[in-house]
Subunit: 96 residues, 10 copies
């Protein structure tokens, strides 16, 4: 099932650069692993903002919850979650 | 170039059913035509809401503007537009 | 899977009483049918407001979407949808 | 009497991990005790958010107030409280 | 138990004056009856606004719900409800 | 003249407990003195929130301003002030 | 005592021009009478908006309430009221 | 030309008292100088809030900008600026 | 002096097409006249919205007020006005 | 293609003055370089606010994203981005 997620990242100004870089590298690694597994299906930067629109394909809300909470940058994110489904005007039976 | 668009539809309560059906049919036809042309790349219903998240692939902001304003349901929509681009953590060179 | 839904009903002031009563009766009938089927698991009035908090148990976001949109009062509702799941501190394996 | 409570937890970024873990463990213990006593009747995680929807069954607003303020994570929560009651369309005389 | 209620009244501009006067007279009569019964304990106009702050003393959230919904002007009100209780710094055991 | 005041208290997480206790004790002492003087006429806790609804009876807006600003917890409060007056439907000539 | 009032006027689009002109003329007459009486002390248009910032000098919140509610355009206004008083940095003992 | 300015001051809780007093004294001195020069024409405390409504009479938006930014408390203010002008119902040709 | 103005147009759904077209034509004519006169210096459509960002170069806030209020579509606009001035980092002495 | 950007700068109160000055100097240098290159086409201070309205002329949303994120003050900005395009009432074929 699909979820549309908006993530806005706000790092504390006093976070050491090394710590920030480490978190970002870990975040990127996990994001890429989840993309390769077909779970994190879309990931777009919102132009000019430290933020993204994403589409997740999970087996349950619980799985989505567990994945998001494991993201290294999760404590620094403002997150909005919307369940999405096939639109009656879509030409795709299953647009993931 | 890609734009993420959120559309929320609010039809007036006193719109005759035939008029509403006509508008919806025209909207669906145009949405499907634009999908087939590769312009309206994603179209998801937000579960439980008369609303959608969409991704458009256009040549310019002006083209996006013209397309949206031609939608039959446009006068009844609340619209949010965000330019999006490749995310540095995306595994796709060009995720459309 | 569970969804938490908040519904706020706003009937137009110029709706004839008979029409309002008909809609409310149909809404009640459908709400009670879905409760008996185990889909609409909880339904609470927010004290003093023409509004409710509900919990739905559905097979997919698409089913939730279809059910909500069939509610007779749906065109007059403002709706908020949140996917919910087991809380790590819950004493229930499966609190529905 | 029933209250619907939304709790959003925001821990300070500079809280030591041990302190956070201690608070969470105490919070969980108290939450489970109140659930077993039949006071904290429902507790659902909002998928993807460090937040929950809860239903409390208390004898008075004062009791609700005292319980919430004793929660170990209370100083780090944003809380919304709504009194709820039987919905006229509910099939349950007393849905707790 | 006590509830703090804020009511903002918004009459439709096209409501006939006679209808508005009838509603207001009925509202006043019911408000005064509930005050005499000790249920509607305080009723203050917010200076300059067609709005009031009120304190209700009821036996349950359900009673509050039923009373508010019977108010003749209820369909034209925006309402906020908060359960209130004794403040630890109050000098009154039971400030109603 | 009467003012309705909503106070929401937000103590910094890093305030030492002794300092917080001292502030609260001083706040309580001043609140009780003003209640005994008939100035702070009502003081209700909003159930579940570190917040109160209050009614002040002062001689001028300037007096209200001076009193509120002397509250020991004032620097940690979010405050909303509304002048209130007799409601035309009140059964009391002078509801304080 | 002084009140700072913001008024935003929103006339219904279907109000006949003659009715609008009549209301505006009556509003202007009353506004000018109150200015001459020293009650409506300042009246500024917010540049570009159908709105004003005003300062009233009244004997009580009740008087302010009565005056505002008698304004011919009152039913079409959104109003914000703030009690104001001498600022400690003002060079005027009594800036009206 | 006139500008209506709302200033809300939020001092950091950890600012040393001496620093706060120094800033406030400097702010007061500058505010009084500008009042004497006829630039800061009105300055009212919003009763109960650490905030003011002010009216400035400047030669240009640039002058307003420069003056506000030189205020000692400027870094701790939330500011709203509105250009204002003569209201057509004002009895004053030039209400400053 | 320069003002930045955001205009969002919301035509009533029941406005006859001829009336809408007449208003739009008159609006366009006035907009183009003001542009040629050097007053309406910039006019950009916000892509996808029935809205624009504009920059006006006027002699006073009063002139801005008069011009905006004469716009044929003014009664159907939501407007935000901000005075702007030279930015200290601008490479232009006078960017109009 | 053009983007309208609003930037609001909020420096932490505890940033050392030298660090702030360094950031501002670097920001100014980069802003002036981008202006000279014809990319940052307009830059206006919002009068009285530590904020600006800007117009960027870029080749893609990705370029806008990269430029904004390289701004030295970027971590301290709240940013709003809107794609803009030619307005049908503009007298300019290409208003940059």
């Amino acid at each position: 099932m699909l979820f549309h997620v908006k993530m806005v990242v706000k790092l504390p100004h006093d976070m050491p650069v090394e710590r920030a870089n480490e978190l970002k590298a870990n975040e990127k690694a996990m994001a890429q692993r989840l993309q390769k597994e077909g779970i994190w299906r879309h990931l777009w930067r919102i132009a000019g903002l430290y933020a993204n629109y994403s589409v997740f394909d999970v087996e349950s809300p619980a799985q989505l919850n567990d994945l998001l909470m494991q993201l290294p940058l999760y404590p620094y994110m403002e997150i909005e979650v919307d369940a999405i489904c096939r639109h009656p005007s879509s030409i795709h039976e299953d647009d993931r």
